[in-house]
Subunit: 391 residues, 2 copies
């Protein structure tokens, strides 16, 4: 029997306990032995919880207990999660986490410790929630070169953009997302400003390149400046506005998060509401797409439990393929130097935009155009807002 | 170093050699050791091939060589493949195959031998070519109950239906598919009559239920009777005609392969050309969809090589989750007893069809209607052709 500990008993942590119990038989078959939760570590008071006897306030008893082979981390953030996960790995315990900030910030270091201690550091639930992505991409990379990866990795903004194409404005769609619990009420910027997608993109880019890509080096713009007028013009061009996370690892490496005009013929344009969808283009396998619920308690917990089963069974071999090295230094954003087609909205007239191919119209003193230029050129031309076209 | 043998040096067999060599480093990382092709078994003459020294005409030297741990089977059919694969497994060698007929016909027996001999019987490439499906579905089943699975598993008929919605008739689209090498020139019935999809559905149904579902018990109709008029009427209803493989494992078990009217709002309707797409509905993970190239030399070979790496590394544990038992007997088709909405085309007038809700029109003496009834009712009413509606 494998004993595990859950750190953080919030939404995903309690979901993990629920899924482990509901699927005990299948999990045992996959893990090779029954999996039992021995500790739940949370600073809050759970003395009246039916599993009260499992709760501890501190990670110390977990670390001291040699019978615990896997630790689930669902605390979030890095302040508490990072030292706890590091200590668990250093004690030779495998870790399964849903914490994208932790992986994006400290992934290389934690993977190196896991490898040294012959245990696993797994994070399927950190990107795409219930959508299987990290493991298939990692396995795919052993056989293929992934030349390009792009898609939708933030369900909240995708929900908002779906609502906006139905006519809601940004503020209304944000209120609706907050009402449904998709967006944070106090500060929704992690979603709206693309920070969540930036972290996920850093993780995927690190996988594709084999070196740690720091999230702050992923050029990122959120959806705050998308107007209903932009969405209408996009539709007139046969496109849908989507917040696209992308990694190009072909001739040159570049990555980013930005609102884009996605051609409706592209399958990514059809990913709606809170769903996520990611397309990978490989040299051997060609195009493959994954699609699923990007968030939610049980879908995400189900991914955590998959990792737990793998960690129990395969501990020391999982990170042979799922691995990247530390990069020398951070602070140099991976800008895209190529020319793309852009939708540009400017208050300075069409002539202010480089490489204009078509003027779409003027409204409220702002002119919308299509232009062929680089990211550097469009961001330097004084435009109010711009979006790359994805065919 | 792991030595392997390839049985059958056709399209997929030679692709497997190509992918193994092109991705040697990644494969070694994933397999835990370098993987080397020691034998290629093919009855044809390859004496002038650059790898001539690897060729043998018979499986005997492969079986006798204890250094061979994995055998790749890409012969196809069951006449030669079945005894060879059985002998390899009985000799304790893991097998990775792309052969859907073999798995659909003898899967339960071969899985049982693999388990007994502590080796692996893997077949990712047998369904969906390069689209990852067998492994994620098998892993998913450890944590989730998959209540429903459906989608497109035959690229050739999907290519033809895509062409037909562009205005080609059945014969033209078949000739085009044959010209491009998607359909067999002499006898295209494996694709056109749904036999290929039937085998794949039997494999998926066996995974979902844990007992062997014989392909002949999967009620199957191909696309031979789909007319351009059917496709036009489907379009007027906001639907696309697709050959749908489906498994229902919710309250009751039923499965089938049949042309359906798929609502354009359903992501499966948008799967075009030779692509495959399969949607699974799970209790925890909710909806997940996989999409990719369903066939082709390198995509399929890439899936075979993934299985080889897993077999080298994890031999005896892979079939703990990927497994099903022999079923007691074959010969009872899994008919769907529920009422569905059907598109029905009849020469006997609307009144001959049970549960008609709407008459769509009459042309050339045939009346097309929508009706609410069971599969048994619609097939007994003397209609020329019918398709279930999938929302």
């Amino acid at each position: 029997m494998a004993n595990i500990a859950i750190l953080g008993f919030g939404n995903i942590g309690s979901g993990t306990l629920e899924v482990l119990r509901a699927s005990a038989q299948g999990v045992a078959r996959r893990a090779g032995e029954p999996v039992e939760v021995k500790y739940i570590c949370d600073v809050r008071d759970f003395s009246s919880h039916p599993d009260a006897k499992l709760f501890v306030k501190d990670i110390a008893p977990v670390l001291a207990d040699e019978s615990v082979s896997v630790v689930v981390e669902t605390i979030g953030g890095t302040r508490f999660a990072y030292p706890m996960v590091k200590a668990a790995l250093e004690a030779g315990k495998s870790v399964a986490t849903s914490n994208k900030e932790l992986v994006a910030t400290h992934g290389a270091e934690l993977l190196a410790i896991a490898r040294e201690k012959k245990c696993a550091f797994l994070f399927e639930a950190s990107v795409g929630g219930g959508m299987p992505l990290i493991k298939p991409v990692s396995e795919c990379l052993a056989v293929n070169r992934i030349e390009k990866l792009y898609g939708i990795v933030n369900g909240t903004t995708n929900f908002m953009l779906t609502k906006m194409s139905g006519g809601m404005d940004f503020d209304e769609s944000l209120r609706e997302a907050q009402r449904l619990g998709y967006a944070e009420t106090i500060d929704p910027s992690a979603d709206v400003d693309g920070i969540d997608a930036q972290r996920k993109t850093a993780i995927l880019a690190s996988m594709l390149t084999g070196r740690h890509i720091h999230p702050e080096d992923v050029p990122t713009r959120g959806i705050r400046d998308v107007s209903v007028r932009d969405i209408e013009l996009a539709e007139s061009l046969g496109c849908t506005v989507r917040l696209i996370a992308w990694v190009d690892n072909d001739d040159a490496f570049a990555c980013g998060v930005e609102p884009c005009l996605v051609d409706n013929a592209n399958r990514i344009a059809g990913v709606e509401d809170v769903y996520n969808g990611v397309l990978i283009q490989c040299d051997m396998l060609e195009d493959v797409m994954f699609y699923g619920r990007g968030a939610g308690k049980l879908p995400t917990a189900s991914s955590v439990v998959s990792d737990v089963a793998d960690a129990v069974r395969y501990a020391d071999s999982m990170n042979d393929t799922l691995f990247w090295d530390e990069a020398p230094a951070k602070g140099s954003p991976y800008e895209d130097a190529r020319v793309h087609e852009y939708y540009v909205r400017t208050a300075q007239g069409a002539e202010s935009v480089p490489g204009v191919t078509r003027v779409l119209g003027t409204q409220d003193g702002e002119t919308a155009v299509l232009a062929q230029c680089t990211a550097a050129e469009v961001s330097a031309c004084g435009a109010r807002f711009w979006m790359k076209l994805v065919r």
